[in-house]
Each structure stands twice: as structure tokens, then as C-alpha cells.
Amino acid sequence: MSDTAWEMLSNQAVGAAGIVYFLALLAHLVEWAALRQPGAVEATRATASTTGAGSTASAARAAGGGVAVATGPRNGAGDTGQASYRVALFGRLGLLLTVVALVAHGISLVGRGMAADPNRVPWGNMYEFTLAGTFVVALMYVVVRRRFRLDWMAPLVVGFVLAVLMVAVIWLHSPVAPLTEALNSYWLVIHVVSAVIATGAFTLGGLLSLIYLVKERRPDATTGLLGRAPSLARLDSTSYRIHAFAFPVWTFAVLITGPIWAHEAWSRYWNWDPKEVWAFITWVVYAAYLHARTTAGWRGRKAAYLALLGLATLWFNFIGINYFSTTSQHSYAAPALVGPAEPGAVVAGDGDPGPRLL
């Protein structure tokens, strides 16, 4: 396959992924709508709690998301049963579509990498990074969905991924270009993979904290997202556990692989470049988050605010610094010395300061 063919495949795959995500979103919205019918929620609840009280933990886990309704006892009249049947059906359909979309999404990433000459990892610019980041959010959701009982979040995650993907396609799209020399390092692969994973996980955790805060304000909501969201305590602890996973990964990405690579490429492992500064700020805020939870006993609301603060700094680094920063990696060489190691200038068209593409 030629490079242009790969690039075209990638573009088409992104389109396909977008459409299927959209269908998945619709399926989940139908699922929600069905939940809105009186009785349906009770039905799922009842199922959940009956199985939950049973002896095996795995049954409880499966029921937590409400998807296992079909296998549980039906209490209530026919229409309630039908509603909960519909909930289950569309819930599954939504998941299936999400997985299909994820596959297309993955193909689009592979296509970007194959389209470049020489082939490379598909994260050379903001478009590609966004593609990879949203992929990780969706993938992570699908993977931890059961373990953390996140089925109820489906519309939110799918909607989020779809929206960001659209932004990427409309505003960030740029043609495939080869990596500049400084980016051509295996540290790039390790650094960016870990940073993308951490970003995806922080985003997922942040969404949970957000829902925590919303639910806290309307604790008795019975319908829609809030109705299905688990208890505040569980939201809080699930969010924590996702953050606890993301934080070491972020540490690895920005405090180990980033500096090693910076050292190889530009002689300074840490130079307080705006990108580095904000990666550091993000790290400190999340450290404060974990620290506050364990030592100051800040659970719940205060912790959620800290988590969202962390998320804000994370995204600001990705979006804000790329677009608004005046001092950037260009500083690594003396004034006008546009050189091989001054990748910012060459990472096509995103005005991005440098190898630290996140």
C-alpha cells in the first residue's frame, strides 16, 4: 500500500469511527430513555441488589451496571419488564458499537503511522496526539468498564470521545509528515505512550470526579445519568483508583522518560520550558490530590475539586501552551538558529514548541 493510500485509509477510518461512535451514543441514549420510564430504574435496582446480596461477588459486579437485568428476576408487570429488556438490549448494542468504533479508531492510528515515510509512531502533531488520546480514553473505558462497573458512564464517555474527535478532524487535521530528527527517538515512543495513557486515565478519573460533584448537588436524582451513577462513595473511590493508576504512569512519562529524552536531544534534562513547567504543575497538583486524600482525609468534594484542577492543568498544557505560549522550545537554540534539534518549528503547523507533544 502506498503512503497516500494509508493516509486515505486513516482519514476514512476516522470518519467511520466517528459515525459508529455516534450510533453507539444513540444506542446509549435510547437505553437512558428506556430507563426514564417508571419502574425501569427500580427494576434494575432490584436486580442489582438481589444479585448483589447473593454469595458471589462476580454476580454483583455484573449487575452493578444494570446490564445484567435480563438475567435477573423480573419483578413488576410486563411493561416494566419490557423497559428493562430494552435497557439491556440497547446497553449491549451501545457497547458493541463502541468496540467497533474503537477498532476503526485504531485503524486510523495505524494508518497515520504507516503513511509516514519512514513509518513511525502516530503521534507527531496535535491531530495525531488527539486521535491517540481519545483512543486511549475509549479503550480504557472498555477495558475497565467491568472492573470498575462503569457501564452507566457509557453515553458520557462515548459523547466525549466523539466530540473531541470531531474537534480534531475539523480543526487540528494536518497531513502526514515525517518526524523531525529530534523526535526520531525510541524515547519518544515510550514517553508519549505513557503520557497518552496517563492523559486518558486522568480524563476518565476527572469525568468521574465531575459526576461526583454534580451528583452531590442533586443527590436524589433518579433518572438519567445521575440516576444510574453509583453512590457518591463509590464514585469517589473509583475516581481515586483511576487516578492512582494514572499518577505513576504520568510520573514515568514526565519525570523519567521526558527528561532522558530531553537530555539526549537538547542537552538539558530539565529546562523549565513552558511544556515542562506545566507537566510539572500537573504532577504537583495530582501529588497534592493523592496526598490530600491519604493524609488530610480530603475525600469527596475537596478531592474532586483537586482532581479537576489537575485535569485543567493537564489539558491546558496540551491545548493552551501549544497555542498561546510565547516562549517555547525554540529557546533551546540561540535566536534564529533553526536547527535539527529545534523540532518545534518543524512539527507541522501546530505552532507546537517541541518534542513534548502533550
Binding site: A57, A233, S237, S267, R268, A296, V338
Partner: protein, 561 residues
């Protein structure tokens, strides 16, 4: 363990009880010692650590907004020039070098003190805890969140012995009290001690990283130099174009190496999306680690620095140096050398000046170098960075270039105050447009200028960063400690067994206490299939609640309400 420490800390937010003042003293008055102790306790409290952390994050922000001297001195001085009112204020506040400003340093130094004040006592507590036995079984096991009670036919003694063996097998630290009082005997078990060790390791490592980082900042240096193909460099202060030493840097620590740039090459991409970009930059060096060492070869490439002792040499830029010769009207050479032109864009369109001060009067040249020159619609355009059609296009200035009074001048700037622009006889614009080998005669009997050819140059960054291994080891250890701290889940298990009131056998109670930072809710899935269930099963208890129901009250895993 940590919880114990927490209890000794002042409650968050509230001030600790003021120490009991001796009656002679007026109320509210604190002795120096109390004051000291009070401040120390405040400083090492968790809340302070948290505030300092957030402050640190906040304090780092301005450095990403205001250009920093150490990051981009040019941007910083430009900023100063264009903000004349703010600049002095910013200067006073240290906003041009945030990361070594007193206030930034104050925050992290306080953090270090607080950190040490926290680690030391915790280490002692941990040390004692390490050797302590697991705490005795609480009186009422049914009050713990996870517990089970059932009846088996085995005797209490057998049950406890089984429990001891089983828990040992699971690598719990076990303590047995088999003394059959009315309450029955018990087994207490604990595991997960390494969590606290991980946490301590993490916090100690944070300090290690700071030390390593600090060493680099204090004793290291960074410098840059442009080396033209065919010329050399020896590692001493005078040879650098720019030099940025740490405050305790000692020039005698510099490695005595030297090198010559034999050849610089790059591959240019001819087609496809990256057309016009270059890659495969390679600078062939011949170097000597010290004046009497053997000469060696090294191909310096991006991402592949050359390490000599403690010092690393990096390839970070390249450009062109047109070789320019100026002659007087007699044909005597007044000036002849490669002149470093600074690239203005990706295509290496470059700007430079030449100052021929032996000429009479001084002759200055200023203009552009086009690596691949093409005339498009009457405008000169540079097509790419490879030197396929090198062309020099310069204006000429004659007079006094201001170099005689000895004041320092940038080699990239022409002082035109005393040297007006040279024009054609009729006053129209005069410009030299030369290709390699061409010579042009200057108006006004100023002589001639020859463009001899082009030499590439590379910009080399040289840095000595002591402590970088320390910092790296620090973060790696911090990460390991962090993983332990986050994912090792300490837990305690108690098993109590007493003779059943009637019918023989024993009444057994088992309880598990997890200590995790996830929250008040037990993490039901994290240990995989339930630890409690498995232990009960291993002790011959009921898998399905046949005996006296496995009370699982309080397992709030599924509170859907």
C-alpha cells in the same frame, strides 16, 4: 504506621492545644521553646505540606508566562525592551528567573524541611512497627466491616492451628494466643508492611531528586558554540559563544577535551509531505579527550550526544557560513573568512554581516544568504535549505563601523551610525548579488567583494550536569516507592475460635480489616475473589452459609440507595 503518625499531628486546620503555661506566665504568652515547637509542628503538619505543594504549583506558573532568562534570554530581553514600565517591577520580583528566585526557593526549601520533619519521625515509627507483633484481636470482631461467624466440628485448637498455617502460607505475619479463656483463643495476622516502606522511600527519593537537580544547577554549566566545518574547538571558557554556569561552577572542573568538525552532512527530503525538510544530520568529529590523549572519531547526531567524562556534546543546529573576501582597489586582501550566517527560517534563508575593518574606510556588508536561490516573478525566493544554488545578496556600508574604540560588539550586528549605505553613482540602491566564485567591484573606490564558497557550520551545545544520575536514580526510586505505596494494601485478619456451647466443635469468627486510601468503602473487587471467603473455606467453614449464617453485615459494597 501512618495512621499513628497522623494522630500525633495537629488536627487539620485547628491549632494544637497551647502547651500548659506555668502559672507565673501571663495567658497567651508563649516561651521561645514552645513557639519553636509549635512552629515546627505546624511546618511538619500534613496540611502545611499540602498547602506548600499547591503553592509550589502556583509559583511555577509565572515562569511559563514571562520569558525566562535562563530558558530564552533573547525573548526575555525583547520582552524587557517592549514593556519598559513593567520590566523593572518584574525584575525586582525575580519574574525573569522564577526558578531560582528567592520566593520559589523558599517554597521548596520549606517543603524539604517539612518533608524531612515528616520522614524522620515516621521512619522511627515504622521501624518500631516493623518489629511489633500484629495487634491482638479486638473484643468484638462482628463490628468490623468484613467478618464471618460460623460453626465447625473441629476443636478450637485445630482451627487456630489451621488458621496460623494458612495465614503464614499467605505470608502474613502471625501472632497466636491459644489460651482458651472464655473468649477463646485467637490468631492475629497482618501483611502489607511494605506499603509504608514504599511511601517513605517515595518521600526520601523526592529529596534525592531535589539534591541531584540542585547539584546540576549549582555546579554544572551549559554552553553553546558554533563550529564551522574544518575548524576546531577546545573546551575552555573563552571558546564559547554563550556560557551559562551554575553559581558554584568552577572552570577548573572543565574537561580538557577538544575536537575538530571534519564534515557536516544532512539528507534533504526531495518529495512527499516532508519535502524540503532535512534529516540524518551528522557531524563527523575528530576529538581528543585531553591534549595528550589519542585522537578518536565520532559521528555526532541528533539524539546521540558524545559523552566525554562528565560532559556531553550535542548537535543542536546547523547553518551556512559563506566565505567572503574583501579586497582594496589594489587587489590586496583586507578581509577573508567564512562568515556565520544565522538561519531565519526552516529553509535556512540566513542573515549575516561581515566587517572589513582593515579596509579604508571600514567596509560593512549586511544581507541574506539563499541556499537555493530562485527568481520567482521578479522576487528572489529561497526554495530549500540544501545549498543547491547558493546566492549572497548584501548591502554595503562604508565609514566607521565603531570597532576602533574597543567597546564590545555583536558579530551579528552592524553598527551603521558612522557608516552610511553605499549607493550607485546616481544615488539609486546598490546591492551585491553574488554566486560562488563571483566578484563585484564596489562603487566609490571601495574595492571588491568576492563570494568564495560556502562552508556549513554546526551549533554544538556542551553541558556538564553533575548529579544527573542522582536525580535519575531518585525518580526511579520514587516511582518504585510510589507503586508500593499506592498498590500494596495492608490488611489485618483475626480469627477467633472457642468451644461451642453444646454439641462439640467450635464457634469461629473471622474478620478482615483493610487499610487503603481508596476511601471508606471496602474495595470489594481488588483482592480478586474474596479474601475472607477464601480464608473461611480454607478453615473448613461454610461456602454457602450452611452453618450459623456467614454474617457479612457492613459489607457496603453495593449500597445502591
Amino acid at each position: 504506621m501512618s495512621t499513628d503518625v497522623e494522630q500525633t499531628q495537629p488536627a487539620a486546620g485547628s491549632q494544637p492545644e497551647p502547651p500548659q503555661a506555668p502559672p507565673a506566665r501571663r495567658p497567651g504568652e508563649l516561651g521561645i521553646r514552645e513557639m519553636g515547637r509549635w512552629s515546627w509542628r505546624q511546618l511538619t503538619s500534613m496540611r502545611t505540606a499540602l498547602v506548600l505543594l499547591l503553592l509550589l504549583a502556583l509559583a511555577a506558573v509565572p515562569g511559563s508566562v514571562v520569558p525566562q532568562d535562563s530558558v530564552d534570554s533573547l525573548a526575555a530581553s525583547r520582552w524587557r525592551d517592549s514593556h519598559t514600565t513593567l520590566a523593572p517591577i518584574y525584575e525586582r520580583l525575580g519574574l525573569f528567573s522564577v526558578y531560582d528566585s528567592p520566593w520559589f526557593s523558599a517554597i521548596y526549601l520549606l517543603l524539604v524541611v517539612s518533608l524531612i520533619g515528616c520522614i524522620v519521625p515516621r521512619t522511627f515509627v515504622y521501624w518500631r512497627g516493623l518489629r511489633a507483633k500484629p495487634p491482638a484481636a479486638p473484643r468484638n470482631l462482628a463490628r468490623l466491616p468484613e467478618h464471618a461467624a460460623y460453626r465447625v466440628s473441629a476443636s478450637p485448637h485445630t482451627v487456630l492451628e489451621d488458621a496460623r498455617r494458612e495465614l503464614r502460607r499467605r505470608r502474613y505475619r502471625v501472632r497466636v494466643d491459644d489460651d482458651a479463656g472464655p473468649e477463646g483463643g485467637w490468631v492475629a495476622a497482618e501483611r502489607g508492611y511494605l506499603r509504608e516502606a514504599g511511601n517513605l522511600l517515595f518521600h526520601v527519593s523526592v529529596i534525592v531528586v531535589m539534591v541531584g537537580f540542585g547539584l546540576g544547577g549549582l555546579f554544572g554549566y551549559q554552553g553553546g558554540v558554533i563550529v564551522i566545518q574544518g575548524t576546531g574547538f577546545a573546551n575552555n571558557l573563552s571558546q564559547y559563544d554563550d556560557f551559562n554556569p551554575g553559581s558554584l561552577f568552577d572552570p577548573t572542573d572543565m574537561e580538557p577535551f577538544s575536537f575538530t568538525l571534519d564534515e557536516f552532512s544532512a539528507e534533504w527530503i526531495e518529495s512527499g509531505a516532508g519535502r524540503g525538510m532535512a534529516r540524518g544530520f551528522q557531524a563527523g568529529l575528530t576529538y581528543q579527550e585531553s591534549p595528550d590523549a589519542e585522537t578518536e572519531q565520532y559521528d555526532l547526531r541528533v539524539n546521540h550526544p558524545l559523552s566525554i567524562g562528565d560532559t556531553d556534546v550535542f548537535l543542536i543546529g546547523h547553518g551556512y557560513a559563506p566565505v567572503i573576501t574583501v579586497r582594496d582597489t589594489e587587489g590586496e586582501v583586507m578581509y577573508s573568512q567564512p562568515v556565520v550566517f544565522l538561519p531565519q527560517d526552516q529553509g535556512l534563508l540566513s542573515y549575516g554581516v561581515a566587517k572589513s575593518t582593515l579596509s579604508e574606510p571600514d567596509v560593512g556588508l549586511e544581507g541574506l544568504f539563499y541556499p537555493t536561490y530562485v527568481m520567482i516573478d521578479g522576487d528572489p525566493v529561497n526554495v530549500m535549505g540544501d545549498d543547491r544554488n547558493p546566492t549572497l545578496s548584501m548591502e554595503v556600508f562604508a565609514g566607521d563601523l565603531g570597532l576602533d574604540d574597543g567597546s564590545p560588539q555583536s558579530i551579528y550586528v552592524l553598527d551603521k551610525d558612522g557608516a552610511p549605505k553605499v549607493t550607485e553613482e546616481d544615488g539609486s540602491r546598490y546591492r551585491l548579488d553574488l554566486q560562488p566564485g563571483q566578484t563585484a567591484d564596489l562603487p566609490d573606490d571601495l574595492g571588491s567583494v568576492t563570494f568564495e564558497g560556502v562552508e556549513p557550520w554546526t551549533r554544538v551545545q556542551i553541558s556538564q550536569t553533575p548529579g544527573k544520575e542522582i536525580a535519575l536514580a531518585g525518580v526511579v526510586l520514587a516511582l518504585i516507592g510510589l507503586l508500593g505505596s499506592l498498590f500494596i494494601r495492608p490488611r489485618r485478619i483475626w480469627v477467633r475460635a472457642r468451644k461451642a456451647d453444646q454439641g462439640g466443635g467450635s464457634m469461629v469468627e473471622v474478620a478482615v480489616l483493610r487499610r487503603s486510601s481508596a476511601g471508606p468503602e471496602p474495595d470489594d473487587e481488588d483482592a480478586g475473589p474474596d479474601e475472607l471467603d477464601k480464608l473461611v473455606a480454607a478453615l473448613g467453614g461454610p461456602a454457602d452459609g450452611t452453618a450459623r449464617g456467614a454474617g457479612r453485615a457492613g459489607r457496603a459494597g453495593e449500597d445502591e440507595s
